[in-house]
């Protein structure tokens, strides 16, 4: 076996069948698993060691209900199975993961896959759920009828994986094929026409199953792969479909009708007991409350409220520990480096002050991610999309935009990449352009800092949670009209995407998996803090530290002697630090640009923070940390950034002596960060996915929008106050 190339096995199945759990179980590789339709967009591979010691290459294909290759992921599935994918070997076997509770619909996909000529093994997954519900399926009988091995499995508890491995080992030798329908003459004739014209005359390589896809699907992505010129190809396909129509079958409906007509007799007596099940499933009973017109909405709002509020109430003690740890580390490092004052400032004010200020928010981020994972794992996210759909539909967005937009709340980049599942180019473009408005997790530290400093102490955790929720909502609120505007102005494309979404059965979340997801997001946060954020922090420290002309010290000393003769040593030091900071490279720049942000109530230090955050928005935390540390404003009784901000005073100008940060300023900063596209990576991804023009346009547009909104927030806030 070692001399041959490794055998390859593909996993395919409907969304929410536990296919990805099975993949993780077999390969030991972990990946994100959600209950939300279409979450596995990327193709994933892993190595699976069979009981006989042989190794196979396991490919996890995107979860899909059928192979009607309309979107990119369905096309990936067809291409891989047919052996036309450039980055995957043609599989020697396909394992179809079938949800016992939806046997008929799941076997439809298996039947479509079998037409591509790949040997098959069927894994009847969620066997435990079926057993609990009194659903007994005779897997031996099913095996006889279908002609391929049928193995009951429970992916979450590893049950049946041994039997599956044995079945696969045997099947790799015997190459069993699923029974295929006998197509009526109208279909076989049309297929024969296509084969003659495309394969024999035009030398295309197409399997039987691919010819079927070309015939049955109105806009098949398989067609894009052909060498034949588009006009010629489309004429051929139209002719074949016309022939099918004349033969008495409506081309769009033919496959579903005929395939189910073939499957039903095979399954009807097996499924008889299923029909005797009670009429309402548990999921449906739960949904009577959760999808209720009034209660459902209240529960949704209440749930969001609890989620955002717990971010403040649960994380406090852990944050204190981290804060104390950072302060202690700063003290040690400061003591050890007294001989090298510049390096001391770099380490204490720059790295520890900057990165430390950022790390403090780890507990709060974990709390939020815990709830998101919980809602996804239980299957509630699809319900949230169901409840909120109407809010989106008027602006021309459709159900398929939900997944990308929802994942943009974690990070806009995977969100934008996920728009590849949207086959309508216009809807895709709009979704990409509004994705940066979804409040990504990088904005979270900014909200947490400002809310923690100015709202929580004064108004309590409830209002703090509410503000945090509002900040997440403001982007959505503006995304609607923006999408509508784009929808009206962009040229129309083909018919809009269908919105058909499954409401999967509720599941008891697995703590292990939630824990794993928390570990992944937590370690990502720490790694980011330790690498990119740390490096940027060092650069920003340098820009805030240098230059340090020695004559400045003399000038400050001289003016201090004249103005206030009895000045204390500490006060002098403080003035000197402030003077250095103000004439540093970044300080000069901030002072020059500050008038632009003056209407939003920002002083030059906030301006520096905002400007430094354009490559990555969370940089503002460490920038503010460094700014105040270098300015000598962090003293013993305000060792954390939040209390330092609360003490900051205007140095000059009409408001000298009054606090820099009041409620309107804090809100204005948060609004600015909620809307502005301060993320170099997102700009680059938009440029790659659409065009440079769109990237620059959306950057400029969102920055302008953020500025206007921030100014409005500040001005209205001041007027009210």
């Amino acid at each position: 076996m070692s001399t041959q190339p490794p055998l390859s096995v593909a996993l395919i199945g409907n969304p929410n069948t536990g296919k990805t759990s099975l993949f993780n179980m077999l390969t030991g590789l972990h990946q994100h698993v959600g209950n939300y339709a279409g979450v596995t967009v990327e193709k994933k591979t892993g190595t699976w060691t069979l009981p006989d010691g042989g190794q196979v290459n396991l490919i996890d294909l995107p979860g899909t209900y059928n192979l009607n290759a309309a979107s990119l992921d369905e096309r990936v599935a067809v291409d891989v199975l047919a052996g036309h994918s450039s980055d995957a070997a043609p599989p020697d076997l396909v394992i179809v993961v079938v949800d016992v509770e939806n046997l008929r619909r799941n076997l439809y996909l298996a039947s479509q896959a079998s037409e591509l000529g790949v040997p098959m093994v069927i894994a009847l997954n969620c066997w435990d759920v079926a057993e609990r519900k009194g659903l007994q399926i005779d897997s031996k009988l099913l095996e006889q009828r279908l002609g391929v091995p049928v193995v009951p499995t429970v992916a979450r508890t590893r049950r049946g994986t041994g039997a599956l491995a044995e079945a696969v080992t045997r099947a790799l030798e015997t190459r069993p094929m699923l029974v295929r329908p006998r197509w009526p003459e109208a279909v076989t004739d049309s297929i024969a026409d296509l084969r003659r014209e495309l394969v024999e005359t035009r030398d295309e390589t197409l399997r039987e199953g691919e010819l079927q896809r070309l015939l049955f699907d109105r806009r098949s992505a398989v067609a894009e792969r052909l060498k034949t010129p588009a006009a010629e190809r489309d004429a051929l396909l139209r002719a074949a479909r016309e022939k099918l129509h004349l033969g008495g079958y409506q081309p769009d409906a033919a496959e579903s009708l005929l395939r189910y007509r073939f499957l039903n007799p095979l399954l009807n007596d097996i499924l008889e007991r299923q029909a005797a099940m009670k009429k309402r499933s548990t999921s449906e009973s739960i949904d009577q409350l959760l999808l209720h017109r009034v209660w459902g909405l209240l529960v949704f709002v209440g749930m969001m409220y609890v989620v955002f509020q717990s971010v403040y109430t649960w994380a406090g003690p852990l944050m204190d520990i981290i804060e104390r740890g950072v302060g202690w580390l700063g003290g040690i490092a400061g003591g050890a480096l007294t001989a090298t004052p510049i390096l001391q400032s770099l380490v204490v004010d720059g790295v520890i002050g900057g990165v430390g200020a950022f790390l403090v928010f780890l507990p709060q981020i974990l709390v939020l991610f815990f709830f998101i994972a919980l809602l996804e794992e239980t299957g509630y996210m699809a319900r949230a999309a169901f409840l909120m759909d109407k809010l989106f539909s008027w602006s021309g967005l459709n159900g398929k935009s939900f997944v990308p937009l929802l994942s943009s709340f974690a990070c806009a980049i995977p969100g934008i990449l996920a728009t590849r599942t949207i086959s309508d180019p216009k809807a895709r473009c709009i979704t990409i352009l509004i994705a940066p408005l979804m409040s990504c997790s990088a904005r979270l530290p900014v909200y947490l800092l400002l809310i923690g400093a100015f709202i929580e102490p004064e108004y309590g955790a409830a209002v703090a949670g509410l503000t945090l929720f509002a900040m997440h909502f403001i982007g959505v609120l503006l995304a609607g009209p923006l999408a509508w505007l784009l929808h009206r102005t962009l040229p129309r494309s083909v018919a809009s995407q269908p919105f058909v979404m499954e409401l999967p059965h509720y599941r008891v979340p697995q703590l292990g998996r939630i824990g794993h997801r928390l570990y992944e997001s937590g370690s990502e946060f720490i790694v980011r803090a330790g690498t990119v954020i740390c490096a940027m922090t060092i650069v920003i420290w340098a820009l805030l530290y240098f230059p340090r002309p020695p004559e400045l010290a003399e000038t400050v000393q001289a003016t201090a002697q004249v103005e206030s003769p009895g000045i204390s040593e500490a006060e002098l030091e403080h003035r000197l630090n402030a003077a250095y900071l103000k004439q540093s490279y970044m300080g000069r720049f901030g002072n020059a640009v500050q008038p632009v942000f003056a209407p939003a109530g920002y002083d030059w230090k906030i301006t520096v923070g905002v400007l430094a955050s354009f490559p990555a928005r969370e940089i503002i935390i460490s920038t503010l940390g460094i700014t105040y540390a270098l300015g000598g404003e962090i003293d013993e009784d305000s060792d954390d950034l939040r209390s330092t901000l609360a003490k900051a005073r205007w140095e000059s100008g009409p408001r000298a002596g009054t606090p820099v940060f009041n409620l309107p300023v804090a809100l204005s900063i948060m609004v600015f960060f909620a809307l502005c596209m301060q993320c170099g990576a997102t700009v680059a991804v938009i440029a790659k996915e659409l065009h440079w023009g769109w990237a620059i346009g959306s950057f400029a547009g969102l920055t302008a929008l953020a500025w206007v909104a921030a100014v409005l927030t500040y001005q209205i806030g001041m007027w009210l106050a």
Partner: protein, 45 residues
């Protein structure tokens, strides 16, 4: 001592800038989606 101080700071600063350059430049294997995480496993779009 002052000389050592300057050299060390210069080294750290240079290291940080080299690191940032390496993270954000286009990689040959087209890995790294541009999110800035070093060794990001996601393919470049």
């Amino acid at each position: 001592m002052e000389f050592l101080d300057r050299i060390l700071v210069f080294l750290v600063l240079g290291g940080a800038m080299v690191f940032l350059y390496r993270v954000f430049r286009r990689k040959k294997d087209k890995r790294g989606c541009g999110c800035g995480t070093d060794k990001c496993p996601t393919r470049k779009p």
